[in-house]
């Protein structure tokens, strides 16, 4: 074991940057759908606008950020390095963006060719992502739990993608449309096997280290992640069975999944209460909000076991996607962007100093993304979440206010991160002519590489 070790190769800023810059605008697109077609959108989980909006959010916003963040975090969390990160990121991004846009258009217009084109582009993008990230992760000899968790999350993503492609071909009329059973499996793998699993794998490191808490209990780390994936496999198996056996297996898996996710959310909230770091930090509040959203989503699902009402599955998914995933991801995004900008500005400064030039003082994270922005975003997010939950119950009155709040949320988020990156870019353009080469943080300057 440990044949080689490498701690360098932080990817260039443009690798995650392109994903972070584009993601919020898919959120804006989803909010516009809610604004102009709100009542029809919220009428059913199968309405065309609903499917377009949820995929805009889940793929366009959430998954886009997760794709970018994974490429950035692999070296840190899992000592895994994607070779040639820039062309890989370019290719994934160029396939992914039109893929998501075409999929949203396909749901709205219901044209077979749009489904075919979207499925092709999205599967090509994800095949490259899963191939490169998976290769890096399986080669990595990191002993961290997060590395193991990220490997499992990639399997979840692969399964979600497979179901999604089959469904897209079903909607295009090329294959029989296996709805709702395959849809439910697609949702389970996408929401739990990929989104929740990856966020859990990140949480094991990020929550204890950034908030200075005790570690997660061991059973809630890799074992829980393996459990989630096995239970999802159980649900897939139930799909092949029929009659009572299928129902019992599927529902048994659902109950265990809900239990595991609830245990994770409760553990996170408990750890946060034991945090040694007491300083106010909206990052912590985004995580807390996300865990409350996850618990409410599970509660909603549990109620649906007793009372069957069409609004309950819709509320469960809304709370999971908007309450849990979106909150955690928004908080993480602000922190990651601010830190990355600081780190890369630090490299610019080092390059200037090495060239014997006068250096500038590097603005710290709070100067690039002031904490008041995080605090305001948190408030807007909570308002948008509450408005959406009410809108699910009373679409006629609340769809438009909810849509406006989401427009504000995503527009604000896109502007904050966009403006911070623009400021970085301006400094970089000013500095670049004065230095021979700028090295990504954590990489060795070539001039001294032979010095050993």
């Amino acid at each position: 074991m440990y044949a080689g070790i490498s701690l360098q190769q932080a990817p260039p800023l443009s690798v995650p940057g392109r994903f972070f810059l584009t993601a919020p605008w898919f959120g804006v697109a989803a909010a516009l759908l809610l604004l102009f077609d709100g009542e029809a959108l919220l009428a059913s989980r199968w309405s065309p606008a609903m499917l377009a909006a949820t995929h805009g959010l889940a793929l366009g916003f959430i998954a886009t950020i997760m794709l970018g963040a994974t490429q950035q975090l692999l070296p840190v969390l899992a000592s895994a390095i994607i070779p040639r990160p820039r062309p890989v990121a370019t290719l994934i991004h160029l396939l992914w963006l039109p893929g998501v846009a075409l999929l949203m258009a396909a749901f709205l217009l219901l044209r077979p060719w749009l489904f075919h084109a979207a499925a092709t582009l999205l599967s090509a993008a994800l095949a490259i992502f899963i191939g490169t990230a998976g290769h890096a992760l399986y080669r990595s000899e990191s002993s961290s739990d997060s590395a193991a968790g990220m490997r499992l999350a990639l399997l979840g993503l692969l399964a979600a993608l497979t179901c999604g492609v089959l469904l897209a071909f079903g909607l295009a009329g090329t294959l029989p449309l296996w709805r709702p059973r395959l849809t439910n499996l697609h949702l389970a793998f996408g929401l739990i096997g990929w989104i929740a699993l990856l966020l859990m794998a990140v949480a094991w490191q990020v929550v204890p280290m950034f908030q200075i808490t005790p570690p997660y209990p061991a059973p809630l780390r890799v074992r829980a992640a393996r459990g989630l994936l096995l239970l999802l496999a159980g649900k897939a198996l139930a799909l092949g069975l029929s009659g009572t056996a299928a129902v019992v297996l599927d529902q048994g898996c659902n109950i265990a999944l809900a239990g595991l996710l609830a245990a994770f959310a409760i553990a996170t909230l408990r750890l946060q209460r034991q945090a040694r770091r007491k300083v106010r930090d909206s990052h912590r509040d985004f995580w807390r909000l996300g865990m409350v959203g996850l618990l409410l989503s599970i509660l909603c699902w549990a109620v649906s076991l007793v009372f069957s009402h069409p609004v309950l599955p819709l509320l469960t998914a809304t709370l999971f996607l908007l309450g849990f995933a979106l909150a955690v991801i928004t908080g993480m995004l602000l922190k990651i962007v601010a830190f990355l900008l600081w780190l890369h500005l630090q490299s610019l400064r080092d390059a200037l100093l090495q060239a014997g030039k006068e250096a500038f003082s590097v603005p710290k994270m709070n100067a690039m993304i002031p904490s008041r922005h995080g605090e305001w975003l948190l408030r807007i997010l909570i308002a948008a979440q509450i408005a959406t939950v009410v809108a699910v119950l009373a679409p006629r009155f609340m769809a438009i206010p909810a849509a406006l709040l989401w427009l504000l949320h995503f527009g604000y988020l896109g502007s904050i991160t966009g403006y911070a990156m623009y400021r970085y870019h301006r400094i970089r353009v000013r500095v670049e002519p004065h230095v021979a080469a700028i090295h990504a943080p954590g990489t060795r300057p070539r001039t001294t590489a032979s010095g050993g």
Binding site: Y2, S6, L7, Q8, R276, R277, K278, N366, R444
Partner: protein, 145 residues
């Protein structure tokens, strides 16, 4: 038997705790408590850097022959953290709460992403590869605080 991973990870957590304490005093603008607490944290983290730079990294380089790779990156990150620590010292001396908290926010993430790499990769690698783990731990314990 103690491993390098356990020994050094415990020391990371000790430094984290000291930083959290100092930061809390600074947030309350209780400089009479914040100033000594900050110094205690700075001494602890500097001691940690010294254990690595004087003992662990040279031993790693000697036994693996890897001179330019991981230890180079880790030393560079120590340098960046020391820059921030100097700014933290200045903010403490100036009793400037906002500067202080801005610095600890950035420093904390810098420290933690550094620790993740060490705890996830470098320390387990040294436990696996170095022939004299107990001796290395002993020598690190001898580094002046």
């Amino acid at each position: 038997m103690t491993t390098i991973t356990n020994f050094m990870t415990d020391d990371h957590r000790r430094c984290d705790d000291l930083l959290a304490t100092a930061e809390q005093h600074a947030q309350q603008e209780d400089w009479a408590a914040a100033a000594p607490a900050t110094l205690t944290f700075i001494d602890a983290i500097e001691h940690h850097f010294q254990m690595e730079e004087q003992v662990l990294f040279p031993e790693f380089e000697r036994q693996t022959g890897m001179n330019g790779g991981p230890t180079y990156v880790m030393r560079e990150e120590h340098r960046q953290m020391r820059d921030l620590i100097a700014q933290l010292r200045a903010a403490t001396d100036a009793h400037n709460r906002d500067d202080y908290l801005d610095t600890t926010e950035t420093l904390l993430i810098m420290i933690q992403q550094h620790n993740m790499k060490e705890e996830g990769m470098l320390y387990p690698f040294t436990d696996e590869r170095l022939s004299n783990v107990a001796e290395v731990i002993g020598a690190m314990g001898q580094v002046a605080a």
